[in-house]
Symmetry: C2
Subunit: 124 residues, 2 copies
């Protein structure tokens, strides 16, 4: 099997770089498809297809106006993602504290026993 249905999942929808660009572009204001095409330099059919995916997961809203269709980002649909990522916040803060504490401890010791073989400085 391949990846589990991209089309119906917010995480998969934003995994595509162009879709993220579109979301950012449509965050502040409503725009017709043509403007997106021009602004982002993409093919029209490509934009239409990305918009379709984004609509299916509720990341954008559409409104018809004459022969144009105005799209805008539905920012609320991005919240779940923000919140999911936020559940890890306490952990990265924890890690930062550890790093900071270690740095301070070393400073107190005047880095006297800091030997390359002893440290995990290669972190990264």
């Amino acid at each position: 099997m391949a990846r589990a249905s991209t089309t119906s999942d917010t995480f998969n929808a934003v995994a595509e770089p162009r879709r993220r660009e579109i979301l950012s572009y449509l965050a502040g204001a409503e725009r017709p498809v043509g403007e997106i095409v021009e602004a982002l330099g993409l093919e029209q059919t490509s934009v239409s297809k990305h918009l379709r995916v984004l609509r299916n997961v509720g990341l954008v809203r559409m409104r018809c106006q004459g022969r144009q269709k105005l799209y805008r980002t539905n920012a609320e649909a991005i919240r779940p993602l923000h919140e999911w990522a936020g559940t890890f916040e306490r952990y990265w803060q924890h890690q930062l504290h550890r790093v900071k504490a270690r740095a301070e401890a070393m400073a107190l010791q005047g880095l006297s026993d800091l030997k390359p073989s002893d440290t995990k400085l290669k972190e990264k």
Copy 2:
């Protein structure tokens, strides 16, 4: 062409539900692969492959201990995602304010001119 290289992108890495499960499971503590397999009820080879993807984008860290390999989530690598989603925060707040304002306006008017044909209640 298909989707642009999933393996080297954080957004794509977390697009996979099982990988998200693994990240959550490894957020608090270091664990050997076997425990992940057992805890999440996945195939061992599948877990290994997901861990590989997660490692490639820095979402997990690995440490060898005897014949085990201990993995843990590198929460910091999730921050960019959190921050990206956070750039939309002002917009969803904005939308909430609009909704609230409209609701209050309607309340003030006693909903006198609220007609089904007039509203976009069919919104989903």
